[in-house]
Amino acid sequence: MPELKEKICSLKEAAGLIKDGSRITLGGMAVHNHPMAFVYELIRKGVKDLTIVGHVSAGDVDILIGAGCVRRVEMSYVGLEEFGPAPNFRRAVETGEIEIAEYSEPMAFERFQCSARGQPFFTTLEMLGTDLPKHNPDIKEVVDPFSGAIYQAIPAADPEWAIIHAPMGDRYGNILYFQNRQLPTDLDLVTSRATRNLIVTVEQIVPRERVLRFPHLNLIPRFRTTAIVEVPYGAHPSSCLQVYDHDREHLKYYSQVARNPDEFKRYLDSYVYGVKSHMEYLNLIGAESLVKLRQIGGYL
Protein backbone atom coordinates (compact mmCIF):
# COMPACT_ATOMS: atom_id res chain seq x y z
CA MET A 1 0.00 0.00 0.00
CA PRO A 2 1.33 3.49 -0.73
CA GLU A 3 2.39 5.58 2.28
CA LEU A 4 -0.35 7.23 4.31
CA LYS A 5 -0.38 10.99 4.24
CA GLU A 6 1.20 12.45 7.36
CA LYS A 7 -0.71 15.40 8.74
CA ILE A 8 1.66 16.26 11.54
CA CYS A 9 3.05 19.79 11.44
CA SER A 10 4.37 22.58 13.65
CA LEU A 11 2.23 25.11 15.50
CA LYS A 12 3.53 27.77 13.14
CA GLU A 13 2.54 25.79 10.05
CA ALA A 14 -0.90 25.06 11.47
CA ALA A 15 -1.48 28.68 12.47
CA GLY A 16 -0.41 29.65 8.94
CA LEU A 17 -3.61 28.03 7.66
CA ILE A 18 -5.72 30.70 9.35
CA LYS A 19 -5.99 33.84 7.24
CA ASP A 20 -7.07 37.33 8.28
CA GLY A 21 -10.85 37.56 8.36
CA SER A 22 -11.37 33.78 8.81
CA ARG A 23 -14.43 32.41 10.55
CA ILE A 24 -13.07 30.01 13.16
CA THR A 25 -14.20 28.07 16.20
CA LEU A 26 -11.99 27.15 19.14
CA GLY A 27 -12.70 23.95 21.03
CA GLY A 28 -13.33 23.75 24.74
CA MET A 29 -15.94 25.09 27.08
CA ALA A 30 -15.67 27.50 30.02
CA VAL A 31 -12.19 26.98 31.52
CA HIS A 32 -11.67 23.58 29.87
CA ASN A 33 -10.01 22.12 26.78
CA HIS A 34 -9.10 25.29 24.89
CA PRO A 35 -6.32 25.03 22.27
CA MET A 36 -4.35 27.79 24.01
CA ALA A 37 -0.92 27.11 22.48
CA PHE A 38 -2.54 27.53 19.07
CA VAL A 39 -4.24 30.72 20.25
CA TYR A 40 -0.85 32.13 21.34
CA GLU A 41 0.60 31.22 17.95
CA LEU A 42 -2.24 33.07 16.21
CA ILE A 43 -1.43 36.12 18.33
CA ARG A 44 2.29 35.92 17.47
CA LYS A 45 1.34 35.59 13.82
CA GLY A 46 -0.67 38.80 14.17
CA VAL A 47 -3.86 37.49 12.58
CA LYS A 48 -6.59 40.12 12.21
CA ASP A 49 -10.36 40.42 11.90
CA LEU A 50 -11.27 36.92 13.00
CA THR A 51 -14.87 35.95 13.50
CA ILE A 52 -15.02 33.49 16.37
CA VAL A 53 -18.13 31.35 16.47
CA GLY A 54 -18.42 29.58 19.79
CA HIS A 55 -20.69 28.71 22.68
CA VAL A 56 -19.15 29.04 26.17
CA SER A 57 -15.82 30.83 25.86
CA ALA A 58 -13.25 32.01 28.35
CA GLY A 59 -9.57 33.00 28.26
CA ASP A 60 -9.14 31.74 24.68
CA VAL A 61 -11.43 34.34 23.20
CA ASP A 62 -10.54 36.96 25.80
CA ILE A 63 -6.82 36.97 25.03
CA LEU A 64 -7.41 37.01 21.25
CA ILE A 65 -9.67 40.03 21.67
CA GLY A 66 -7.11 41.74 23.89
CA ALA A 67 -4.38 41.11 21.30
CA GLY A 68 -6.49 42.78 18.61
CA CYS A 69 -7.15 39.66 16.52
CA VAL A 70 -10.95 39.64 16.63
CA ARG A 71 -13.66 41.51 14.75
CA ARG A 72 -16.75 39.53 15.75
CA VAL A 73 -17.79 36.93 18.34
CA GLU A 74 -20.86 34.68 18.20
CA MET A 75 -21.49 33.16 21.63
CA SER A 76 -23.67 32.58 24.67
CA TYR A 77 -21.01 33.37 27.26
CA VAL A 78 -17.55 34.84 27.51
CA GLY A 79 -16.37 34.75 31.12
CA LEU A 80 -13.90 33.16 33.49
CA GLU A 81 -16.34 31.25 35.73
CA GLU A 82 -15.10 31.55 39.34
CA PHE A 83 -12.59 34.22 38.27
CA GLY A 84 -15.33 36.59 37.14
CA PRO A 85 -15.83 38.47 33.89
CA ALA A 86 -13.54 38.18 30.87
CA PRO A 87 -11.86 41.61 31.05
CA ASN A 88 -10.83 42.11 27.41
CA PHE A 89 -14.18 40.92 26.09
CA ARG A 90 -15.93 43.28 28.47
CA ARG A 91 -13.75 46.24 27.49
CA ALA A 92 -14.02 45.57 23.76
CA VAL A 93 -17.82 45.35 23.86
CA GLU A 94 -18.13 48.43 26.05
CA THR A 95 -16.00 50.47 23.63
CA GLY A 96 -17.65 48.99 20.55
CA GLU A 97 -14.39 47.50 19.27
CA ILE A 98 -15.95 44.14 18.45
CA GLU A 99 -19.27 43.01 17.10
CA ILE A 100 -21.24 40.30 18.90
CA ALA A 101 -24.10 37.97 18.05
CA GLU A 102 -25.61 36.20 21.05
CA TYR A 103 -27.59 33.02 21.50
CA SER A 104 -28.67 31.00 24.51
CA GLU A 105 -26.20 28.28 25.50
CA PRO A 106 -28.09 25.19 24.27
CA MET A 107 -28.84 26.99 21.01
CA ALA A 108 -25.17 27.92 20.62
CA PHE A 109 -24.35 24.19 21.01
CA GLU A 110 -27.11 23.25 18.60
CA ARG A 111 -25.67 25.52 15.91
CA PHE A 112 -22.67 23.18 15.69
CA GLN A 113 -24.84 20.07 15.63
CA CYS A 114 -26.81 21.72 12.85
CA SER A 115 -23.59 22.22 10.84
CA ALA A 116 -22.59 18.63 11.58
CA ARG A 117 -25.93 17.44 10.18
CA GLY A 118 -25.40 19.54 7.09
CA GLN A 119 -28.49 21.63 7.69
CA PRO A 120 -28.65 25.39 7.19
CA PHE A 121 -30.83 26.25 10.20
CA PHE A 122 -33.01 24.87 12.96
CA THR A 123 -35.94 26.17 14.95
CA THR A 124 -36.66 26.78 18.63
CA LEU A 125 -39.00 28.57 21.05
CA GLU A 126 -36.28 29.07 23.60
CA MET A 127 -35.42 32.73 23.08
CA LEU A 128 -38.97 34.04 22.51
CA GLY A 129 -39.64 37.16 24.56
CA THR A 130 -35.98 37.88 25.22
CA ASP A 131 -34.17 40.88 23.76
CA LEU A 132 -31.74 38.59 21.90
CA PRO A 133 -33.56 38.68 18.51
CA LYS A 134 -33.78 42.50 18.72
CA HIS A 135 -30.01 42.75 18.59
CA ASN A 136 -29.15 39.61 16.66
CA PRO A 137 -30.63 39.82 13.14
CA ASP A 138 -29.65 36.20 12.54
CA ILE A 139 -32.46 35.04 14.86
CA LYS A 140 -35.47 35.15 12.55
CA GLU A 141 -39.13 34.32 13.02
CA VAL A 142 -40.52 31.49 10.90
CA VAL A 143 -43.91 29.83 10.65
CA ASP A 144 -44.16 26.11 11.28
CA PRO A 145 -45.62 24.89 7.96
CA PHE A 146 -47.42 22.07 9.77
CA SER A 147 -49.06 23.86 12.71
CA GLY A 148 -48.79 27.54 11.73
CA ALA A 149 -47.07 28.33 15.05
CA ILE A 150 -44.28 30.92 15.23
CA TYR A 151 -40.76 29.67 15.89
CA GLN A 152 -37.32 31.23 15.89
CA ALA A 153 -34.95 30.10 13.14
CA ILE A 154 -31.27 29.91 14.09
CA PRO A 155 -28.49 29.57 11.51
CA ALA A 156 -25.92 26.77 11.65
CA ALA A 157 -22.51 27.69 13.12
CA ASP A 158 -20.64 26.87 9.88
CA PRO A 159 -17.07 27.66 10.90
CA GLU A 160 -14.47 27.64 8.12
CA TRP A 161 -11.91 26.27 10.55
CA ALA A 162 -12.19 24.37 13.81
CA ILE A 163 -9.24 24.08 16.18
CA ILE A 164 -9.50 21.70 19.12
CA HIS A 165 -7.13 20.28 21.73
CA ALA A 166 -7.24 16.53 22.49
CA PRO A 167 -5.31 14.00 24.59
CA MET A 168 -3.62 12.03 21.79
CA GLY A 169 -3.49 11.19 18.13
CA ASP A 170 -1.27 9.64 15.47
CA ARG A 171 0.83 11.30 12.76
CA TYR A 172 -1.96 10.72 10.26
CA GLY A 173 -4.59 12.64 12.21
CA ASN A 174 -6.55 9.94 14.03
CA ILE A 175 -7.60 11.46 17.37
CA LEU A 176 -7.99 9.25 20.45
CA TYR A 177 -9.92 10.12 23.58
CA PHE A 178 -10.29 8.30 26.87
CA GLN A 179 -13.38 6.15 27.09
CA ASN A 180 -15.37 8.27 29.50
CA ARG A 181 -15.76 11.89 28.69
CA GLN A 182 -17.33 15.04 30.01
CA LEU A 183 -19.58 17.37 28.06
CA PRO A 184 -16.81 19.77 26.91
CA THR A 185 -15.09 16.88 25.14
CA ASP A 186 -18.33 15.79 23.54
CA LEU A 187 -18.88 19.34 22.31
CA ASP A 188 -15.41 19.20 20.73
CA LEU A 189 -16.46 16.07 18.87
CA VAL A 190 -19.50 17.90 17.51
CA THR A 191 -17.27 20.84 16.57
CA SER A 192 -14.91 18.47 14.74
CA ARG A 193 -17.80 17.44 12.53
CA ALA A 194 -19.01 20.97 11.81
CA THR A 195 -16.37 21.67 9.15
CA ARG A 196 -13.96 19.85 6.82
CA ASN A 197 -11.09 22.09 7.97
CA LEU A 198 -9.95 20.73 11.29
CA ILE A 199 -6.75 21.42 13.19
CA VAL A 200 -6.11 19.31 16.28
CA THR A 201 -3.41 19.96 18.84
CA VAL A 202 -2.70 16.93 21.04
CA GLU A 203 -0.86 16.28 24.26
CA GLN A 204 1.02 13.40 22.69
CA ILE A 205 1.53 11.78 19.30
CA VAL A 206 1.09 8.02 19.70
CA PRO A 207 2.05 5.22 17.29
CA ARG A 208 -0.45 4.07 14.69
CA GLU A 209 -0.44 0.64 16.41
CA ARG A 210 -2.13 2.29 19.40
CA VAL A 211 -4.97 3.42 17.15
CA LEU A 212 -5.42 -0.01 15.60
CA ARG A 213 -5.50 -1.68 19.01
CA PHE A 214 -7.99 0.81 20.45
CA PRO A 215 -10.16 1.78 17.47
CA HIS A 216 -13.12 2.40 19.78
CA LEU A 217 -11.18 5.36 21.22
CA ASN A 218 -10.59 6.85 17.76
CA LEU A 219 -13.43 9.35 17.82
CA ILE A 220 -12.06 11.56 15.04
CA PRO A 221 -10.81 9.34 12.20
CA ARG A 222 -8.03 10.88 10.14
CA PHE A 223 -10.11 11.74 7.08
CA ARG A 224 -11.61 14.56 9.16
CA THR A 225 -8.26 16.03 10.20
CA THR A 226 -6.38 18.63 8.18
CA ALA A 227 -3.42 19.08 10.52
CA ILE A 228 -2.25 17.61 13.83
CA VAL A 229 0.31 19.22 16.14
CA GLU A 230 1.94 17.75 19.24
CA VAL A 231 1.77 20.34 22.03
CA PRO A 232 2.24 19.03 25.59
CA TYR A 233 0.22 21.13 28.04
CA GLY A 234 -1.17 22.81 24.95
CA ALA A 235 -4.39 23.79 26.71
CA HIS A 236 -2.72 25.56 29.64
CA PRO A 237 -4.00 27.51 31.58
CA SER A 238 -7.29 25.82 30.68
CA SER A 239 -7.60 22.11 31.40
CA CYS A 240 -7.15 19.17 29.10
CA LEU A 241 -9.80 17.06 30.79
CA GLN A 242 -8.52 13.66 31.93
CA VAL A 243 -4.90 14.80 31.51
CA TYR A 244 -4.61 17.91 33.69
CA ASP A 245 -6.83 20.43 35.46
CA HIS A 246 -7.12 24.10 34.68
CA ASP A 247 -4.47 26.24 36.40
CA ARG A 248 -6.54 28.14 38.93
CA GLU A 249 -3.62 30.24 40.15
CA HIS A 250 -2.70 31.34 36.65
CA LEU A 251 -6.30 32.03 35.64
CA LYS A 252 -6.75 34.14 38.74
CA TYR A 253 -3.58 36.03 37.86
CA TYR A 254 -4.79 36.48 34.28
CA SER A 255 -8.21 37.72 35.43
CA GLN A 256 -6.47 40.38 37.51
CA VAL A 257 -3.84 41.61 35.05
CA ALA A 258 -6.28 41.63 32.13
CA ARG A 259 -8.38 44.24 33.92
CA ASN A 260 -5.71 46.84 33.22
CA PRO A 261 -4.73 47.32 29.55
CA ASP A 262 -1.09 48.15 30.42
CA GLU A 263 -0.70 45.16 32.68
CA PHE A 264 -2.37 43.00 30.06
CA LYS A 265 0.13 44.22 27.47
CA ARG A 266 2.95 43.22 29.81
CA TYR A 267 1.31 39.80 30.20
CA LEU A 268 1.24 39.37 26.42
CA ASP A 269 4.87 40.51 26.21
CA SER A 270 5.97 37.91 28.76
CA TYR A 271 3.82 34.90 27.94
CA VAL A 272 3.10 35.25 24.22
CA TYR A 273 5.43 37.60 22.33
CA GLY A 274 8.34 37.01 24.69
CA VAL A 275 8.61 33.27 24.10
CA LYS A 276 10.09 31.74 20.96
CA SER A 277 8.42 28.36 21.36
CA HIS A 278 5.77 26.56 23.35
CA MET A 279 8.53 24.88 25.39
CA GLU A 280 9.77 28.31 26.41
CA TYR A 281 6.23 29.13 27.54
CA LEU A 282 6.14 25.96 29.63
CA ASN A 283 9.49 26.85 31.18
CA LEU A 284 8.05 30.22 32.11
CA ILE A 285 5.08 28.57 33.84
CA GLY A 286 7.48 26.18 35.55
CA ALA A 287 7.66 22.43 35.96
CA GLU A 288 6.37 22.52 39.52
CA SER A 289 3.16 24.36 38.59
CA LEU A 290 2.54 22.10 35.61
CA VAL A 291 3.13 18.86 37.46
CA LYS A 292 0.68 19.92 40.18
CA LEU A 293 -2.10 20.10 37.59
CA ARG A 294 -1.80 16.53 36.35
CA GLN A 295 -4.87 14.28 36.50
CA ILE A 296 -3.78 11.52 34.20
CA GLY A 297 -6.56 9.25 33.04
CA GLY A 298 -8.94 10.85 35.50
CA TYR A 299 -12.40 9.36 35.22
CA LEU A 300 -11.23 6.21 33.42
Partner: protein, 272 residues
Protein backbone atom coordinates in the same frame (compact mmCIF):
# COMPACT_ATOMS: atom_id res chain seq x y z
CA UNK B 1 -25.28 21.52 67.40
CA UNK B 2 -29.02 21.03 67.09
CA UNK B 3 -30.98 23.92 68.52
CA UNK B 4 -28.37 26.51 67.66
CA UNK B 5 -29.35 29.44 65.48
CA UNK B 6 -29.58 28.76 61.74
CA UNK B 7 -27.36 30.80 59.45
CA UNK B 8 -28.87 32.97 56.73
CA UNK B 9 -27.76 30.38 54.16
CA UNK B 10 -29.52 27.62 56.04
CA UNK B 11 -32.66 29.77 56.12
CA UNK B 12 -32.36 30.22 52.35
CA UNK B 13 -31.81 26.50 51.74
CA UNK B 14 -34.86 25.64 53.84
CA UNK B 15 -36.93 28.23 51.94
CA UNK B 16 -35.95 26.48 48.69
CA UNK B 17 -36.69 23.04 50.11
CA UNK B 18 -40.24 24.05 51.06
CA UNK B 19 -41.00 25.07 47.48
CA UNK B 20 -39.86 21.78 45.94
CA UNK B 21 -42.17 18.80 45.41
CA UNK B 22 -41.67 15.10 45.04
CA UNK B 23 -41.09 13.43 41.65
CA UNK B 24 -39.77 16.56 39.99
CA UNK B 25 -36.61 17.27 37.99
CA UNK B 26 -34.53 20.20 39.25
CA UNK B 27 -31.85 21.87 37.17
CA UNK B 28 -28.89 23.80 38.45
CA UNK B 29 -26.32 25.45 36.23
CA UNK B 30 -23.08 27.04 37.36
CA UNK B 31 -22.23 30.66 37.84
CA UNK B 32 -19.58 33.36 37.58
CA UNK B 33 -17.79 34.83 40.62
CA UNK B 34 -17.51 33.48 44.20
CA UNK B 35 -20.53 35.21 45.79
CA UNK B 36 -22.85 34.07 42.99
CA UNK B 37 -21.44 30.56 43.27
CA UNK B 38 -22.37 30.54 46.97
CA UNK B 39 -25.91 31.87 46.48
CA UNK B 40 -26.80 30.24 43.17
CA UNK B 41 -24.94 26.94 43.36
CA UNK B 42 -24.12 25.96 46.92
CA UNK B 43 -27.30 27.17 48.67
CA UNK B 44 -29.65 25.51 46.12
CA UNK B 45 -27.74 22.20 46.30
CA UNK B 46 -28.33 22.14 50.06
CA UNK B 47 -31.98 23.18 49.53
CA UNK B 48 -32.58 20.43 46.96
CA UNK B 49 -30.85 17.84 49.09
CA UNK B 50 -32.90 18.89 52.11
CA UNK B 51 -36.08 18.37 50.09
CA UNK B 52 -34.88 14.93 49.02
CA UNK B 53 -34.12 14.04 52.63
CA UNK B 54 -37.53 15.20 53.87
CA UNK B 55 -40.40 15.10 51.38
CA UNK B 56 -39.08 14.67 47.81
CA UNK B 57 -37.04 11.44 47.65
CA UNK B 58 -38.11 10.73 44.05
CA UNK B 59 -36.99 14.05 42.63
CA UNK B 60 -33.86 14.31 40.49
CA UNK B 61 -31.28 16.97 41.14
CA UNK B 62 -29.41 17.74 37.92
CA UNK B 63 -26.17 19.58 38.69
CA UNK B 64 -24.36 21.45 35.92
CA UNK B 65 -26.71 19.75 33.48
CA UNK B 66 -24.88 16.42 33.66
CA UNK B 67 -24.42 15.11 37.24
CA UNK B 68 -27.61 13.56 38.56
CA UNK B 69 -28.35 13.03 42.25
CA UNK B 70 -24.77 13.37 43.47
CA UNK B 71 -23.90 12.24 47.00
CA UNK B 72 -24.15 15.78 48.34
CA UNK B 73 -22.49 14.95 51.68
CA UNK B 74 -19.36 13.91 49.80
CA UNK B 75 -19.05 17.09 47.72
CA UNK B 76 -15.36 17.18 46.74
CA UNK B 77 -15.20 20.81 45.72
CA UNK B 78 -16.56 24.26 46.27
CA UNK B 79 -18.28 24.01 42.88
CA UNK B 80 -16.11 26.54 41.11
CA UNK B 81 -16.38 24.95 37.70
CA UNK B 82 -19.01 22.98 35.81
CA UNK B 83 -16.48 20.34 34.88
CA UNK B 84 -13.10 19.15 35.96
CA UNK B 85 -11.55 16.31 37.87
CA UNK B 86 -12.98 17.24 41.25
CA UNK B 87 -16.51 16.75 39.96
CA UNK B 88 -15.53 13.57 38.13
CA UNK B 89 -14.79 11.96 41.47
CA UNK B 90 -18.18 12.89 42.93
CA UNK B 91 -20.34 9.78 43.28
CA UNK B 92 -23.77 10.18 41.75
CA UNK B 93 -26.75 8.17 40.55
CA UNK B 94 -26.47 8.98 36.84
CA UNK B 95 -24.37 11.17 34.65
CA UNK B 96 -24.29 12.34 31.10
CA UNK B 97 -21.07 12.85 29.25
CA UNK B 98 -22.68 13.49 25.93
CA UNK B 99 -25.25 15.70 24.32
CA UNK B 100 -27.66 12.75 24.42
CA UNK B 101 -29.15 13.90 27.70
CA UNK B 102 -31.68 11.84 29.66
CA UNK B 103 -34.00 14.83 29.86
CA UNK B 104 -35.30 17.45 27.49
CA UNK B 105 -35.97 21.00 28.58
CA UNK B 106 -37.80 21.71 25.33
CA UNK B 107 -40.21 18.86 26.09
CA UNK B 108 -40.98 20.41 29.47
CA UNK B 109 -39.12 17.81 31.50
CA UNK B 110 -37.44 20.24 33.88
CA UNK B 111 -39.79 21.32 36.66
CA UNK B 112 -37.62 23.79 38.57
CA UNK B 113 -34.53 25.79 37.69
CA UNK B 114 -32.33 28.23 39.59
CA UNK B 115 -31.08 31.42 38.02
CA UNK B 116 -29.37 34.65 38.95
CA UNK B 117 -28.79 37.95 37.24
CA UNK B 118 -27.23 41.38 37.57
CA UNK B 119 -30.72 42.85 37.40
CA UNK B 120 -34.21 41.55 38.17
CA UNK B 121 -37.15 43.81 37.49
CA UNK B 122 -40.58 44.19 39.04
CA UNK B 123 -42.05 41.62 36.61
CA UNK B 124 -39.26 39.12 37.27
CA UNK B 125 -37.47 39.72 33.96
CA UNK B 126 -33.75 39.00 34.36
CA UNK B 127 -30.59 40.37 32.78
CA UNK B 128 -27.16 38.77 32.49
CA UNK B 129 -26.12 40.60 29.31
CA UNK B 130 -25.42 44.30 29.85
CA UNK B 131 -26.03 47.36 32.01
CA UNK B 132 -27.05 50.38 29.96
CA UNK B 133 -27.55 50.56 26.21
CA UNK B 134 -26.85 47.29 24.41
CA UNK B 135 -24.62 48.89 21.79
CA UNK B 136 -22.76 51.16 24.19
CA UNK B 137 -23.07 49.36 27.52
CA UNK B 138 -21.89 50.87 30.77
CA UNK B 139 -21.06 47.35 31.91
CA UNK B 140 -20.86 44.36 29.62
CA UNK B 141 -21.78 41.12 31.42
CA UNK B 142 -21.04 37.48 30.55
CA UNK B 143 -23.94 36.82 28.16
CA UNK B 144 -27.30 35.03 28.14
CA UNK B 145 -25.85 31.53 28.82
CA UNK B 146 -28.73 29.18 29.61
CA UNK B 147 -31.01 31.83 31.08
CA UNK B 148 -33.50 32.04 28.18
CA UNK B 149 -34.37 28.34 28.47
CA UNK B 150 -34.65 28.50 32.25
CA UNK B 151 -37.36 31.13 31.97
CA UNK B 152 -39.13 30.01 28.80
CA UNK B 153 -39.07 26.20 29.05
CA UNK B 154 -38.76 25.17 32.72
CA UNK B 155 -41.85 24.63 34.86
CA UNK B 156 -40.87 27.36 37.31
CA UNK B 157 -37.76 29.33 38.14
CA UNK B 158 -36.27 30.38 41.47
CA UNK B 159 -34.29 33.60 41.13
CA UNK B 160 -31.46 33.67 43.68
CA UNK B 161 -29.76 37.04 43.92
CA UNK B 162 -27.64 39.07 46.29
CA UNK B 163 -29.74 41.73 47.97
CA UNK B 164 -28.28 44.93 46.57
CA UNK B 165 -30.26 47.97 45.55
CA UNK B 166 -28.86 48.11 42.03
CA UNK B 167 -29.96 44.52 41.38
CA UNK B 168 -33.67 45.40 41.77
CA UNK B 169 -34.81 47.68 38.96
CA UNK B 170 -38.17 48.70 37.53
CA UNK B 171 -37.14 47.54 34.07
CA UNK B 172 -34.09 45.47 33.16
CA UNK B 173 -31.73 46.93 30.55
CA UNK B 174 -31.82 43.66 28.60
CA UNK B 175 -34.22 40.73 28.90
CA UNK B 176 -32.26 37.48 28.85
CA UNK B 177 -34.68 35.66 31.17
CA UNK B 178 -38.36 36.27 30.41
CA UNK B 179 -40.41 36.97 33.52
CA UNK B 180 -43.90 38.38 33.14
CA UNK B 181 -42.57 40.92 30.58
CA UNK B 182 -44.89 43.92 30.95
CA UNK B 183 -47.64 42.32 32.97
CA UNK B 184 -50.48 39.80 33.05
CA UNK B 185 -51.07 37.77 29.88
CA UNK B 186 -47.76 38.63 28.20
CA UNK B 187 -46.24 35.17 28.58
CA UNK B 188 -49.43 33.53 27.34
CA UNK B 189 -49.57 35.81 24.27
CA UNK B 190 -46.06 34.70 23.32
CA UNK B 191 -46.97 31.06 23.80
CA UNK B 192 -44.10 30.36 26.18
CA UNK B 193 -44.40 26.76 27.36
CA UNK B 194 -42.70 27.26 30.75
CA UNK B 195 -44.07 28.88 33.89
CA UNK B 196 -41.45 31.57 34.51
CA UNK B 197 -40.22 32.94 37.82
CA UNK B 198 -42.22 32.28 40.97
CA UNK B 199 -39.84 33.32 43.73
CA UNK B 200 -36.97 35.74 44.27
CA UNK B 201 -34.74 34.55 47.08
CA UNK B 202 -32.06 36.85 48.48
CA UNK B 203 -29.77 36.85 51.47
CA UNK B 204 -32.29 39.16 53.19
CA UNK B 205 -35.78 38.25 52.01
CA UNK B 206 -38.20 36.31 49.82
CA UNK B 207 -40.37 37.86 47.10
CA UNK B 208 -43.19 36.24 45.19
CA UNK B 209 -45.40 37.55 42.37
CA UNK B 210 -48.93 38.86 42.78
CA UNK B 211 -51.06 36.42 40.76
CA UNK B 212 -53.27 39.23 39.41
CA UNK B 213 -50.76 41.98 38.61
CA UNK B 214 -47.67 39.74 38.19
CA UNK B 215 -45.71 42.33 40.17
CA UNK B 216 -43.01 41.23 42.61
CA UNK B 217 -44.02 41.63 46.26
CA UNK B 218 -42.18 41.12 49.51
CA UNK B 219 -43.28 37.80 50.97
CA UNK B 220 -41.06 37.50 54.04
CA UNK B 221 -37.87 38.84 55.57
CA UNK B 222 -35.23 36.51 56.98
CA UNK B 223 -34.75 36.23 60.77
CA UNK B 224 -32.73 39.16 62.10
CA UNK B 225 -33.48 41.38 59.07
CA UNK B 226 -35.95 44.28 59.26
CA UNK B 227 -38.37 45.37 56.55
CA UNK B 228 -36.66 48.79 56.57
CA UNK B 229 -33.31 47.16 55.77
CA UNK B 230 -34.88 45.29 52.88
CA UNK B 231 -36.54 48.44 51.55
CA UNK B 232 -33.24 50.33 51.79
CA UNK B 233 -31.61 47.60 49.72
CA UNK B 234 -34.31 47.29 47.06
CA UNK B 235 -34.46 49.51 43.99
CA UNK B 236 -38.12 48.83 43.09
CA UNK B 237 -40.37 51.90 43.02
CA UNK B 238 -43.75 50.11 42.88
CA UNK B 239 -45.63 49.27 46.06
CA UNK B 240 -44.12 45.90 46.89
CA UNK B 241 -44.38 45.92 50.70
CA UNK B 242 -47.64 44.48 52.11
CA UNK B 243 -48.94 45.79 55.41
CA UNK B 244 -47.83 42.66 57.22
CA UNK B 245 -44.53 41.04 56.29
CA UNK B 246 -43.88 37.79 58.13
CA UNK B 247 -40.48 36.38 58.99
CA UNK B 248 -39.10 33.69 56.64
CA UNK B 249 -39.61 30.45 58.58
CA UNK B 250 -36.41 29.14 60.10
CA UNK B 251 -35.45 25.55 59.38
CA UNK B 252 -36.71 23.15 62.04
CA UNK B 253 -34.27 21.50 64.45
CA UNK B 254 -34.48 18.34 62.34
CA UNK B 255 -33.75 20.32 59.14
CA UNK B 256 -30.76 21.98 60.79
CA UNK B 257 -29.52 18.57 61.92
CA UNK B 258 -29.90 17.19 58.39
CA UNK B 259 -28.03 20.13 56.87
CA UNK B 260 -25.15 20.06 59.35
CA UNK B 261 -24.76 16.33 59.90
CA UNK B 262 -25.94 14.64 56.71
CA UNK B 263 -26.04 17.07 53.79
CA UNK B 264 -23.03 19.28 54.50
CA UNK B 265 -21.09 17.54 57.28
CA UNK B 266 -17.77 19.03 56.20
CA UNK B 267 -19.10 22.56 55.83
CA UNK B 268 -17.96 22.44 52.22
CA UNK B 269 -21.10 24.04 50.81
CA UNK B 270 -22.39 26.58 53.33
CA UNK B 271 -20.12 28.91 55.31
CA UNK B 272 -20.41 28.26 59.05
Amino acid sequence: MTGSKPSIYEVMAAAISRELRDSENWFLGMSTGPQTILLLTRVPIVGMSLAQHTHAPNSFMIVAGWLMNPEVGEVPTHMESEFGTALQDWRCEALSNSLVLPYSAARGEIDVGFGSAAQVDKYGNCNTVCIGDYHKPKVRLVGPINQPGHFSLFGREVIVIEHERRNFVDRVDFISGVGYLDGPGARERLGLPGGGPFMILTDKAVFDFNPQTKLARLKSVHPGITVDEVVAGTGYTHDYVPREVPETPSPSDEEIRLIREVIDPKGALLPR
